[in-house]
Amino acid sequence: MINTLDQIFVLLKHWIVGLLPGSLGAFVGILLSVAAIVAVFPGLFALTTVLERKGLGRMQNRIGPNRTGPYGILQPVADGIKSLTKEDIVPVSADAAVHFLAPLVLVVVVFMGFSVLPMGRNMQLVDMDAGLLFFFAIGASTELSIFMAGWSSRNKYSLLGAMRAVAQMISYEVPLLMSSVAVVMITGSLSLVKIVEAQNQYTWGLPHWYIFTPWGCAAFVMFAIAATAETNRSPFDLPEGESELVAGYFTEYSGFKFALFFLGEYLGMFSMSGLGTTLFLGGWSAPLAVLNSVPSWIWFFSKVMLSICVLIWLRGTLPRLRQDQLMNFAWKFVLPMTLLNLFVAALWRFMGDGLLRWIVCSAILLGAYVVVGRTEMRRKQYGPRSYRYAE
């Protein structure tokens, strides 16, 4: 019974495929999985927008949307109708073809990232040998669509936003990859399915998630920072900084194309959270051995939603960075720390079991953090801001 519930979607798919003859069945099977992804994540997106607006409101001692439906739950429906019925404006001097293609490319590419994420036991679209590599390859192509959007609009704000976005995404892709490589080093596989399976073990009822190791914890923090920057979320939302760039690269988009950009951004958040969950939080595995009877997909989605909530929390807390702070942070702090973390992960791998490796690895990471933190705090870019004229 428990097993059936855990595998319910897989069994359902197999049952439908079984009804159809050979080659058609295989085709329908793929189509079903794709349809599930395409249906579930935009649904989550709708849920997240209302969650975010309510949550941010509460953080700022406001109520948030509460007019559409009970407690404002139908707000995404209203937003959807609005964006569908709005006039689709393409600026006269815009490059119409590229302007049209940009949001499509973004959404398609972001959707592709979901295909390798294991969302439950046996629940992944493709189990690729190089799943992680695929994910990052796909992630790298979103930059191009953002550039297309910014450039084709023929608007200085759009172009500035696009340039910022591309510069930021390239910079943070490096620490993102580097922090994930630590996981690959320990697991010995690029397959996300294998990475989850490696974490799905328990000692004394506690899981072997990578976040519970010194290197994993450090890598997770770096990954979270880089992923936030990669998805252009606050405090790294310079590409769409409302106060200076109107809306950044999608300034000149309206109606459904704007909604597509919005969707792309949130889907990017979901896929990044999903990847972070898979790499460090044990994917679909239960947080305690006794909770194993709960279906695996519930664990995956609750972990993803939890990370989304943390992202919303961060957005409600932190002010936007300045461009130079952003770059300094990426290249002078996050990247060196991830490189050090790679070294620590290698140490962990070859020091064998025992308490010693815990002590050594934690000491190296903490020491580096304290030293780097102290020196950086003393420097102008990070320390308390000083004003020349205000005092």
């Binding site: 953080m59 001692n61 406001r62 109520i63 509460n66 929390w313 409600g316 807390t317 933190g373």
Partner: protein, 230 residues
């Protein structure tokens, strides 16, 4: 320590988040259509015309003197005088506005019309739910829409309204006393009966402008003082 500030900030927002569910004091939002804030007494936006008694057409204090129309800086008031006369609150025959329009899309809420009005006939309203789907006709208020009772005036600006009422009562009393004096005076200079019958009738219109002129001289300095005091 690097990152300490972020943790502090996160704690602060978490406190706000949780607190907003527990502590009603934190949520200062007033949910407008259902809840409304009590406006301060001195608040104002657009002018309205005061009338006494139950009947708005009979009770309008306005005598169509057109001072407000001339003083209005954005020229949003349009008045047409009536051809006939009817008695005002004192009981004297007065011209009344056959047409009194205010375009509140032009009005800038300066209150100058109120300050120049010698008859306390125009006052500032507090009504702010004025949205309409017709931006030309809907925002051009005619005299029926502008006419509001003295009770309403008492409700929105109680102190000011009672002051005005006191002043008007005083004036009315004065006018009545004068009329009485005028009525008592004619018998003394002995005159033929037809002439005596004619004088009160001719004296009354004469007395009315006199009362009006004294009023125009006296009240204008008074309202600004009231305004300062308030």
């Amino acid at each position: 320590m690097l990152g300490e500030g972020i943790l502090k900030g996160l704690a602060e927002t978490a406190k706000n988040f949780a607190g907003s569910f527990v502590d009603k004091e934190r949520l200062t939002t007033v949910e407008y259509p259902e809840q409304k804030l009590e406006l301060p007494e001195a608040s104002r936006n657009f002018p309205f015309l005061v009338y006494d008694g139950p009947e708005w057409q009979a009770g309008l204090r306005c005598v169509a003197c057109q001072i407000c129309e001339k003083e209005c800086p954005p020229k949003c008031i349009y008045i047409e005088k009536s051809k006939d006369k009817k008695p005002d609150f004192v009981g004297k025959l007065q011209i009344y506005p056959a047409k009194f329009d205010i375009d509140i899309s032009v009005c800038m809420s300066c209150q100058i019309c109120v300050e120049v009005c010698p008859f306390d006939a125009i006052k500032m309203d507090k009504e702010y739910e004025l949205s309409t789907d017709d931006r030309f006709g809907g925002l051009l208020l005619d005299r029926q829409q502008l006419a509001k009772s003295n009770e309403y005036y008492h409700k929105i600006h109680p102190t000011e309204a009672s002051e005005v009422d006191g002043r008007l009562a005083e004036e009315k009393a004065k006018a009545e006393a004068k009329a009485k004096a005028a009525a008592a005076a004619p018998p003394k200079p002995a005159a033929p009966a037809p002439a005596a019958a004619a004088t009160p009738a001719s004296a009354a219109p004469k007395a009315a402008p006199a009362a009006g002129s004294t009023k125009t001289e006296v009240p204008p300095p008074a309202p600004p003082k009231e305004g300062e005091a308030r």
